[in-house]
Amino acid sequence: MDLILVNLIDGLVTGLLLFMLSAGLTLIFSMMGVLNFAHASFYMLGAYFAYQISTYLGFWMGLLIAPPLVGIVGAAVERYGLRRVHQYGHVPELIFTFGLALLIEELVKFIWGNDQIPYQIPEILEGAAFSISSYDIPAYKVFMIFLSLGIFAGLLFVMTRTRVGMIIQAALSYPRTVEALGHNVPLVFMGVFGVGTALAGVAGVIAGPVLSTFPGMAFVLGSIVFVTIVIGGLGSLGGALVAALIIGWLTTFAKAYNIRMEDILTSLGFTKPEPVWDSAWADLWTLTSPQIADILPYLLMILILVFRPYGLFGKRDV
């Protein structure tokens, strides 16, 4: 029971992190129709910027300064890159963001080198916040949960309660009308792109120290983020949340409980071939759930696409 609770918390951390990335991605996608392949690269930039700032000013200033910086880079990319490619259509846009992801990775390698950098959690958050029976819950995880929830609450408030949020929501569905009403839609687009990438930047700042900060981190997380929004349904914010949490918990539980295929097969009445290594089915017999934890999101995606082509909550014909 206690272990379940611990894993629920772990999965929640992963899920919220995924959601922070997929929320920005979804926001950008539903507004501009472009799936930003480089989204996870901005997450990586967040981590690297924060590291660089933290070496001079400490972790907290990094957390404060890095996301807006990432947002500025994102807005610049929209203004000077994406807007230009937009005229060629969605597929070239996607190819552009893919190229951008490659380029950002190379730039990061160029500036900070190929190896992992020593970006660490601040001392005040080291150690455990509380314990559930014999399991310690690290303070940093609690901090991550509250920070993400705080950001989501703030975002929700801006989107539903303020004038800017109203304009953004309107521009999402009726860009022409909003433009006719005298609002600068390209500016709104640039702003949304900036905010979306800044969100990814926040995720990078807080995830960098725990998931390690290295040039490949964007591609490692990136594909999972795309899987998340496909499962949730492209363009659906609620879907992204549900999918992010499902993936977070699914992978955490698969890693925590060692479910072995051997046990399942034996209980189904199959006999284990001896020695198993010589059998053609060796890989099946030795399969364990931690082994396949990382591919579960992909399997889930394929299953969902076969039965629900538009994802869990997607309606939109993309």
């Binding site: 490619v85 597929v91 899987v227 492209l234 995606m301």
Partner: protein, 426 residues
């Protein structure tokens, strides 16, 4: 080949000289290449090129012809290759002539594509791209789980020489492998070209341009896409088989996103709108990779920058840029372009060299081992602690940029003139 593309639409009784010519020339070139470039390393590069061409052409069946952007095309090549390398390790291999092996790779690539295509070709565009990415990552991740087939981290290796001798040839040397690969390259390229001329190949273009309209012409967009997808899987599998024969080992690397991404890069660089675009892309990219990786550690930074610049400024790729010059040549006005090109492109090249010089010096200053300040760039050896290399490169970049920019309007004007037929000027 593009001019051929256009005349091809006219009715011709049979295979005309004009349509056959590029193929005959290519075949002769392929035969003669090893006599021109005789070194072992050249043949290795040509083998790599040929495999990349087949793979890129197969990729363009999706992207260029069918409008499907795939981030996971490597798996069809990879799986085809893995099957071939497994066959090399079986006893039955002794009774199979090696040149037939790629066909087997093709069949398995096709089988995998026909399964995945069932759910991935429902839509083109973003959804297709994301599914291809997911499936690609899934299969790449499986390589460490399904060890029996993918061989885990070491991969699977084999020996091509155990095959049945083919008219006495045992494929011990690189040059024999070259002719095998070149033969398959010619056959697959021809088949892919012919595919694009069939009803289903024409409809692939129609579905790419306007799926809804195609439906009201009696064709199911999904089924048209599915067919292209399966055919592309087949040719990717052939490329995989050729890879297996050439390198005799396949690993996780043949399946992952890096490989899938680089074939997108190759194809786009060459040009997706023209049939021979991917061929140009594969040749240029392989050369670029070989030359740059010898000269600099950060070659992939340059390749990445080149790719982004291509997408932004030349979305039709190298072949597209080449094609743009057909009109001036046909009008006999290409001479107008020579001078403006020289005065614009030479400074632009100087600017790029200056920039890359700055980047190299900066990179050396940041990442070289401590105390190692000496470096050689453009055949000059100097210390990165000195000031003059920085100044020279910065001057080159600034001056080149200024001149190129100053002369660019001249080029635009000449370009416009060269593309306007005489008498049409007003």
């Amino acid at each position: 080949m593009q001019s051929l593309d256009k005349t091809q639409t006219r009715l011709e009784g049979g295979v005309s000289m004009k349509t056959a010519m590029p193929w005959i020339v290519s075949a002769v070139m392929l035969v003669l290449m090893p006599f021109i470039f005789q070194s072992n390393s050249a043949i290795t590069i040509m083998n790599q090129m040929a495999i990349t061409i087949v793979f890129a052409l197969s990729y363009n069946m999706l992207l260029g012809q069918g409008g499907m952007l795939s981030f996971g095309h490597a798996v069809y090549m990879g799986v085809g290759g893995f099957v071939c390398v497994h066959v090399m390790n079986w006893d039955i291999f002794g009774s199979i002539p090696l040149p037939l092996l790629p066909l087997l790779g093709g069949i398995f690539g096709m089988i995998l594509a026909s399964l995945v295509g069932y759910f991935s070709t429902r839509k083109a565009g973003t959804v297709f791209a994301m599914i291809s990415l997911g499936v690609g990552e899934l299969i790449a991740a499986c390589s460490v789980i399904i060890v029996v087939f993918f061989g885990g981290e070491e991969g699977v290796s084999g020996d091509r020489t155990y095959g049945m001798p083919f008219f006495g040839v045992e494929f011990l040397s690189q040059i024999e492998v070259y002719y095998l690969t070149a033969g398959w390259l010619l056959i697959s390229a021809l088949l892919m070209y012919l595919f694009s001329r069939t009803p289903i190949g024409r409809m692939a273009n129609a579905v790419r341009d306007n799926p809804e309209r195609a439906e009201f012409l009696g064709y199911s967009s999904r089924w048209v896409r599915y067919n292209s997808f399966v055919a592309a899987g087949f040719f990717a599998g052939i490329a995989g088989g050729l890879f297996a024969i050439n390198y005799e080992i396949l690993t996780e690397e043949n399946l992952n996103l890096t490989t899938s991404g680089s074939i997108l890069l190759v194809t786009f660089l060459g040009g997706v709108g023209v049939f021979f675009g991917p061929v140009v892309g594969a040749i240029v990219f392989t050369l670029l990779q070989t030359v740059l990786s010898l000269e600099t550690e950060i070659w992939s930074l340059y390749v990445g920058a080149l790719f982004v610049a291509t997408v932004m400024f030349f979305p039709s790729g190298l072949a597209g840029v080449m094609q743009m010059h057909i009109v001036p040549i046909k009008l006999g006005k290409w001479r107008l372009l020579v001078m403006p090109y020289i005065v614009t492109l030479v400074p632009a090249i100087v600017c790029i060299l200056g920039l890359s010089g700055l980047i190299e010096v900066l990179f050396h200053a940041r990442h070289a081992a401590i105390g190692e300040t000496e470096m050689t760039l453009f055949w000059v050896t100097f210390q990165h602690t000195e000031i003059w290399p920085w100044v020279v490169f910065a001057l080159m970049a600034a001056l080149g940029f200024w001149l190129a920019r100053k002369n660019a309007p001249q080029l635009m004007e000449a370009w416009h003139k060269a593309n306007t037929p005489d008498g049409a000027d007003t």
